[in-house]
């Protein structure tokens, strides 16, 4: 009887020691990540690779088609158009947004009594910019008789059919993206505050004007923050979907048929899961390359603390 009890307590002690072990605790706390990483990252990525070699409509049985999807994609004019449109959109909207965000951030960080209130006000766009409500409003702003055309009219410029003209349709979408500059702006503002004012004072004594100190002090000191914003905004610009889906549905004549939208339509409208999976994989590879290029190039333009 007694013996049994002591071996029981030994058992309990062992279990307790195991549970309270640092490694065990570490894995227990990390468990959600482990499950999520395997279930929601690894499995989907691997399975989409497999699906990209099949013909699969969700209802019929899938059949192995080898490289067919990829071969078809290479000959798909709408695919190449979506790549072209997306790149055009990324290349124009991301720099514009960052320049705009930096410009506003510099105004914001000047010490005035209104700064706090203004900063809140300027944050509004990015707060609600992604919402459907604003996207719908945007559509009306640029409609034929909308606000923008009336303003152009007052300047004596003819009405523009923003969403009817292939050359114009991308512009409202780019402007909406730029308008959502708030979060980049706040990150820039935080970065600007970190730059010691002594740098500027020293530059002033040495006779540098504002423009010179902007290029020689502000930009280099801010470069790590620029890198962060650039990478994050580039990735999210590549994935733009909602705006095009809601405002233009990809039209006119596919002028705003973003990659993510075309992929969505292939999967959920045409029920072509295999084809869409191949598109996902190409997107993954392309975005990885672009991100890698940005990181590699950062060696030449990002100044880390050690260099200063």
């Amino acid at each position: 009887m007694k013996k049994g009890k002591s071996s029981d307590s030994k058992q309990v002690l062992k279990v307790r020691r195991f549970i309270y072990n640092e490694t065990t605790a570490g894995y227990i706390f990390a468990l959600p990540f482990i499950i999520g990483f395997l279930g929601f990252t690894i499995v989907p990525i691997v399975s989409s690779f497999y699906y990209s070699f099949t013909d699969y409509s969700l209802i019929d049985k899938k059949s192995w088609v080898g490289l067919d999807n990829y071969v078809k994609l290479m000959g798909d004019k709408r695919f190449w158009n979506s790549v072209y449109v997306t790149f055009k959109y990324v290349i124009t909207s991301v720099p514009l947004k960052l320049i705009f965000a930096l410009f506003i951030a510099m105004i914001m960080t000047r010490k005035t009594r209104l700064t706090g209130f203004y900063r809140s006000l300027y944050y509004v766009p990015s707060l609600i910019g992604g919402s459907i409500a604003v996207t719908l409003v945007w559509k009306e702003l640029f409609s034929r008789r909308g606000l923008i055309n009336q303003m152009l009219g007052m300047l004596g410029i003819d009405r523009v059919s923003w969403f009817g003209d292939q050359r114009m349709a991308l512009i409202p979408l780019i402007l909406l993206t730029v308008w959502q500059f708030g979060s980049s702006m706040i990150i820039f503002a935080a970065g600007l505050k970190q730059i010691p004012t002594t740098y500027y004072e020293a530059a002033k004594i040495d006779g540098a004007n504002r423009i010179k100190s902007f290029f020689k002090i502000t930009l280099p000191c801010l470069s790590p923050v620029i890198l962060y914003n650039l990478v994050m905004q580039t990735i999210s610009a590549f994935m733009t979907f909602t705006q095009a889906f809601v405002i233009t549905s990809g039209g006119p004549n596919d002028a705003t048929n973003f990659y993510a939208l075309y992929m969505y339509n292939n999967a959920f409208t045409y029920r072509n899961m295999g084809y869409a999976s191949a598109m996902s994989w190409i997107m993954l590879v392309v975005i990885s390359i672009v991100t890698l290029v940005i990181f590699k190039s950062s060696k030449y333009w990002v100044f880390s603390e050690a260099d200063k």
Partner: protein, 258 residues
């Protein structure tokens, strides 16, 4: 800068001709509150009360789940020493850079196989497994909590678990508040998720309902659409008004060290 927003808000009190003809003016000639009544009716016999309830439910559960799971994971990565930690941390950073659209289709296929489409589960479940952006942000914050506190608690007999609940969680509050706000916005505004995973009007969220409301009739009732759009932004504005200070601080610290 905020003109489009003001235009929408005042537009919710105008009728179609007033919106389209006097586009520039902000002040509605007549305050037409009946826009809200017409808008609230929704479409297909489902009112906006249902859409708002669905949105609130999904958003609140997801936000709560994100906070708990991300805090646990951040604690594990930031405070505990064990084999495999560095590797997992690297993987987490990779997922942060991984474009979400890439996972959309395979994840949908998996849920579909599990018979979970259409349902709200795909919209909520991932949040119980941590969100990389918030884990990273919480880790940054934890780095600022002195390790001596953990050690003192450990000497006093606290386990790794009670250090988490008694020391880390209470001190993590500012970071938790930031997470709550940002996650709330993201989930409230989410469009593609509900678009893909919901198919019954009774389960639609506000964002889907707005889009369909705008499409539902051939001649859009702009006043009613703007009134519901305005309502849809109220929760976001309220949270912003209350927590504005935390938000700007939280984003700037998390972004800076990235």
């Amino acid at each position: 800068m905020v003109y489009p927003v003001l235009w929408m808000i005042t537009g919710s009190l105008k009728n179609n001709t007033e919106i389209l003809n006097g586009a520039l003016s902000l002040i509605p000639p007549n305050w037409r509150w009946d826009n809200f009544v017409r808008g609230w009716k929704g479409f297909g016999g489902v009112t906006f009360a249902t859409f708002f309830r669905n949105s609130f439910m999904i958003t609140i559960i997801s936000t709560f789940a994100t906070v708990i799971s991300s805090a646990c994971i951040a604690y594990s990565f930031a405070r505990l020493r064990y084999r495999g930690r560095k590797f997992m941390f690297t993987m987490m950073i990779m997922t942060m850079l991984l474009p979400g659209q890439v996972l959309l289709i395979p994840t949908y296929i998996i849920y579909n196989k599990l018979g979970l489409v259409p349902s709200v589960i795909p919209l909520i479940l991932p949040h119980f497994l941590g969100q990389a952006f918030f884990i990273y942000q919480m880790m940054q914050f934890m780095a600022g909590i002195p390790r001596e506190l953990d050690e003192a608690a450990f000497v006093d007999g606290c386990s790794r678990y009670s250090i988490f609940t008694r020391i880390i969680i209470p001190l993590l509050k500012p970071s938790i508040i930031t997470t709550v706000i940002i996650q709330f916005y993201w989930k409230w505004d989410d469009f593609q998720g509900p678009l893909v995973y919901l198919s019954q009007p009774t389960s639609y969220t506000v964002s889907i309902a707005l889009k369909l409301f705008a499409d539902s009739t051939s001649t859009t009732d702009y006043g009613a659409m703007f009134s519901m759009s305005t309502l849809s932004l109220i929760p976001v504005f309220l949270i912003f008004l209350f927590f504005n200070r935390y938000l700007t601080e939280g984003i700037s610290t998390s972004g800076l060290k990235g």
